[in-house]
């Protein structure tokens, strides 16, 4: 689809449900609420839906949002590569061919929608929307700018990671001229930590183990340790970047217990290693620097397999 075709699609339809992915992040919510505000500004009806609800963290996107009452006619998915990411709380949308239009930036997109606009080279779904709205020509509101900026900033680690394109910076140059507090948003997204979060980070830092001449840092979080340390499990969300933040570490691994004998691995690597390839051997996948997989077995088994896989990377020998 071209941007002009998406523009015609918006003109021709009404009463939109906009799907965002489960465990929502800044990009899917920014794209969802940005597109919702854009469609409402066009005089259309639109709601945003998420299987897990809308977290407080992004409240500025939906502080003034109220759900509209209408009969759904059209379904758009934003930032959702695969229908399974819609979330099992919304089975009615996971049916093949149910989604009318998907706008996404994941190269792994499954093309499950009737029509798709996928740009795997784009830093964020919100960046695609920014460029779409710019081409369509209708002015965007401060709220839309705030939503799109948040998605671009969060998906690029505030323009830090290698997925930051010149286009991402060009979009930011325009968006920060709108009247919303981008510095306030960035502080909220990247700097502020609750005391519980600080405790969780300290717990990770204290309990990380180092292997392979300190080139691998690993933290294993069992249900029991997470319960016994007195920190809310939610505070351990997104701590996967901590092991890689130690100087000299080339691969950072977080092992989190999901069920009795099921462990979720989150792998982060420097430019020297391919996290996606690492996880693929355990049936997982993801991006080149950030990937994940699930391994079944006891923690002891899992750690043994993971350490063997790390050793096979050839990091451990002295340089």
């Amino acid at each position: 689809m071209t941007f002009a075709e998406i523009g015609r699609f918006f003109e021709e339809h009404d009463c939109y449900t906009i799907l965002t992915h489960k465990s929502p992040d800044g990009d899917t919510l920014g794209a969802g609420f940005g597109l919702c505000a854009y469609l409402r500004d066009m005089g259309k009806k639109a709601n945003v839906v998420n299987a897990d609800g809308f977290p407080d963290r992004y409240y500025f996107m939906y502080d003034d949002y109220t759900e509209q009452d209408f009969e759904e006619q059209c379904i758009i998915a934003v930032d959702i590569a695969d229908p399974s990411l819609i979330g099992s709380a919304l089975p009615q949308y996971m049916v093949p061919g149910k989604v009318d239009l998907c706008i996404d930036h994941h190269i792994s997109n499954k093309y499950y929608a009737k029509q798709s606009y996928v740009d795997g080279s784009s830093s964020a779904a919100c960046l695609i929307l920014f460029e779409l709205f710019k081409e369509l020509g209708r002015p965007i509101s401060d709220l839309i700018a705030a939503c799109l900026y948040t998605g671009i900033a969060t998906d690029t680690g505030c323009f830090k990671y290698e997925n930051t394109t010149p286009q991402a910076h060009l979009a930011a140059a325009e968006l920060i001229q709108y009247n919303f507090g981008y510095a306030f948003i960035n502080r909220r997204m990247f700097d502020i930590k609750s005391k519980g979060r600080m405790a969780a980070e300290k717990f990770v830092t204290d309990n990380m183990e180092f292997y392979c001449n300190d080139k691998c840092a690993l933290i294993a979080l069992t249900t029991e340790t997470m319960q016994s340390c007195g920190i809310e499990p939610a505070e351990f969300e997104g701590i996967a970047s901590i092991p890689l933040s130690v100087e000299g570490v080339e691969i950072g691994i977080t092992i989190k217990q999901r069920h009795e004998d099921v462990f979720k691995l989150s792998v982060r690597t420097t430019e020297k290693l391919d996290a996606s390839a690492f996880c693929k051997q355990f049936g997982g996948g993801g991006h080149i620097r950030a990937a994940g997989c699930e391994i079944k077995g006891s923690l002891e088994d899992v750690e043994k397999q993971v350490r063997a896989a790390v050793e096979a990377l050839g990091l451990c020998s002295d340089d």
Copy 2:
């Protein structure tokens, strides 16, 4: 001075000493080594000078740098608002009228040089140089791009803080297209921590005290505590942002002992408070969200004065 006049200045002079400020950061070094490479590419002779030497952290700027042998004819200061910031190890350059040209982005610039280009609205000295080089038209090398990018990124907290201008993003959009690893640089600048640094951060987190309904977080580091905790004092550099990173905190204060009865305050505030005004009452100053001052007295005295000043902000009453 206009950019065209600076261009003529570069044409007309040779044998440059480029001064960077003491306790060097990414912006002064990026501007210094970026300008040095630019002048050398023009066929001029140029060296960069710093009172404290060049830290490992920014090694990629000077990995291939060798000092040139020449008789100094012209002195340029970059990112130096006040001659005292040149540093007492270089008294020969602190003499009034000694510096020929100053390029700076501090609104507090003292106009101590014979000629000055000061743009207080610019995010970084490196951003001024980027715009200067662009106007002058001579192509810049990958090394120059890496230096300028680093200065812009470090002075804006990787495009996070409110001093990030559209121009900073536009410059980044161009600079990241050069052949240098901006993601590698960002990881080095913003993510990687030594184990010593992690220990220092943990020490700060463990020992912070909260006042005024947790709206003020304060850490006091005496020479004795810094020595007894077994962490290198250098690891405590730049930890002033930690107190403000706690959710709900509006003013974060770091008190560090300088001498027996001299304490250095570093103050960081949210958009609700003026750090510069806070420090002014103790004879200091700085930026609106990041400022500093020195207070003489015992730690007890100093803490008492600081807490009184915090209480005077009117934060402490219940909302």
